[in-house]
């Protein structure tokens, strides 16, 4: 399930912006919550990086799997 506010196709936040946190707020608040400081010198690069990952995640989330409850266990080819 997507968190309310995320658009599964674009990977970006749904509009209107005021209804939900925007990307910058999400990035800054989450960083603060886990004890990371994002100085102004890093902010633009971090936001750009997060936006790129959000676009990739959108592709992943839009992909239909036969079994959405399948385990995401650690990858191994041992038994293949």
């Amino acid at each position: 399930m997507l968190r309310p506010g995320w658009d599964s196709h674009s990977g970006r936040l749904r509009r209107p912006r005021e209804e939900y946190m925007d990307t910058e707020n999400y990035v800054m608040r989450t960083a603060e919550a886990i004890g990371l400081t994002i100085p102004s010198a890093c902010a633009q690069g971090t936001l750009r990086g997060f936006d790129r990952l959000a676009q990739m995640a959108a592709v992943v989330l839009a992909h239909q799997l036969a079994d959405e409850t399948e385990s995401a266990q650690i990858f191994s080819l041992d038994h293949e």
Binding site: M1, L2, R3, W6, Y26, V27, T30, A31, I34, G35, L36, T37, I38, P39, C42, G45, T46, L47, R48, G49, F50, R52, L53, M56, A57, V59, V60, L61, H63, L65, A66, E68, E70, A72, Q73, I74, F75, S76, L77, D78, E80
Partner: protein, 475 residues
């Protein structure tokens, strides 16, 4: 007399026959390194240790003892491998403060046991996160075919050192394409084995659930000989599988009879590949009699999932330093780690589900009727150092992530791949991937050997680099 740039098995054969001393091979190699510094491959030279190892080999030979298959062959390693007595840099400034490694990485121990002589460590992208080896701390590694251009990455120092003829082979690592991309851009052979085949113990991790080690060489036989020397289960690496050693060197002469070979196609393969490079791939397929085409339908989603998992796993490894030493990171790596540390967990977990689904699709559908796939390594040849964007077929895209377009969907599910170089008489070299089923590296090696024998793939040392590395060894 021989040139420094000779191949590994030629050197080992002559050392074993007593035509050359390992110490002489080593001194000729060390003498060529200062001139090769222009390419910025090496970050440390281990001359004292190498001299001890070479002299030990010569003493063993004089006593009539058997020598290993790589006796006296100089090699170097990406600087994420532990080398006893050196801090393991992994391309970073932060790791320069680490205590020196107390033991060589497993792979180096295997090669030393085979008689190879370690001469140094090699430049790379910081923490292996990138495809260009433009390292903010240690400088950009230059491509021996055109020093104004990138060597590719993240194992750029390893690829450039081999391509320039300074060492016959080098170790690298491949998480999203970090062996195959620089192998292609530098015009040499590379191998990324099945996930779990070769031990990673003592190799600094990047994204542990798909980190592989592998290596580069200038011939298929050298690539195979080094691969065979590296084989062996290692209980210290949790993903190292317990299988019988399956050496590939004895299989190289078998030809390609019986192998079902197909060319990979798909939206990205069709639209985002320079026309000349597409012709290269088709020429290889024609030589192999491969008329079948297989559409890599979900390659884009596989690549997207690889990006997400890579960001999450790699960032997790560096949280402490992101809090305490943020400005000691390479700026381009730093911002990617910061972004990756903030990913919602369901993005990552869903990416893992996609990974298992994609693996099943590849095994049950693609490899049900095919033994080996042929695909390009990169969409374009080496670009100028410092370039950020590239235009292919009229479309301008960011350069760095685009280099992984054709390689990421494969390492993502751990498939074995041999990268073969296409040397162009005019222009820069490129590379083609030979992709096999899990644990069937032998199939990929057989095809590489066939193509080399037919003259379609080769890794000549560029003339300028050859003049640097070509000083004869005086026995």
């Amino acid at each position: 007399m021989m040139a420094v740039s000779e191949r590994a098995l030629d050197i080992a054969g002559r050392v074993a026959q007593g035509e050359l001393r390992a110490a002489d091979v080593l001194e000729a190699t060390l003498a060529a390194l200062p001139a090769a510094a222009h390419y910025n491959c090496f970050t440390a030279v281990t001359a004292a240790r190498a001299r001890e190892e070479a002299e030990a080999i010569d003493r063993r030979r004089s006593r009539g003892e058997a020598l290993g298959p790589l006796a006296g062959v100089p090699f170097a390693v990406k600087n994420l491998f532990d080398v006893e007595g050196l801090p393991t840099l992994a391309g970073s400034r932060i790791n320069a403060n680490r205590a020196p490694a107390i033991r060589d990485a497993f792979a180096i121990r295997r090669l030393s046991a085979a008689g190879a002589v370690l001469v140094g460590t090699l430049n790379m992208e910081e923490y292996a996160y990138g495809f260009t080896t433009e390292n903010a701390h240690y400088g950009a590694t230059r491509n021996p075919h055109d020093p104004s251009r990138i060597a590719g990455g993240s194992s750029g120092g390893s690829a450039a050192a081999v391509a320039a003829g300074t060492v016959p082979f080098a170790l690298g690592s491949d998480t999203n394409g970090s062996i195959r991309v620089p192998a292609a851009l530098c015009g040499i052979f590379g191998v990324k084995p099945t996930f779990g085949r070769l031990s990673r113990t003592g190799a600094f991790p990047f994204a542990p659930s798909f980190d592989h080690i592998g290596h580069f060489a200038r011939s298929v036989t050298d690539l195979a000989a080094v691969y065979d020397a590296l084989l062996g289960h290692d209980p210290d690496d949790p993903v190292s599988v317990q299988r019988e050693n399956e050496p590939v060197l004895p299989t190289l002469s078998r030809g390609i009879d019986g192998l079902r070979i197909a060319m990979a196609t798909g939206p990205d393969f069709d639209s985002f590949l320079e026309p000349g490079m597409r012709a290269d791939v088709e020429a290889l397929c024609q030589c192999l009699g491969a008329t079948a085409r297989v559409e890599m339908r979900d390659a884009a989603v596989a690549r997207a999932a690889a990006f997400v998992i890579t960001a999450a796993e790699s960032s997790n490894l560096h949280i402490a330093n992101l809090k305490s030493r943020l400005f000691d990171f390479d700026p381009s790596t730093r911002d990617k780690f910061l972004a990756g540390a903030l990913l919602p967990s369901h993005w990552v977990i869903q990416a893992q589900r996609v990974r298992r689904h994609y693996l099943r699709t590849m095994l049950d559908v693609v490899f049900a009727n095919t033994d080996v796939l042929i695909a390009p390594c990169t969409p374009f040849p080496a670009t100028p150092i410092g370039q950020d964007a590239v235009t292919v077929n009229g479309k301008t895209v960011p350069l760095r992530p685009s280099l992984g377009l054709f390689v990421q969907p494969l390492s993502f599910i751990g498939l074995p791949v041999v990268s073969v170089p296409i040397s162009r008489s005019k222009g820069l070299p490129t590379g083609v991937q030979i992709i096999a089923r899990p644990w069937r590296e032998d199939d990929a090696f057989r095809i590489a050997a066939y193509l080399e024998k037919e003259g379609l793939v080769s890794a000549p040392v560029p003339p300028v680099a050859a003049s640097i590395a070509g000083e004869p060894i005086k026995p």
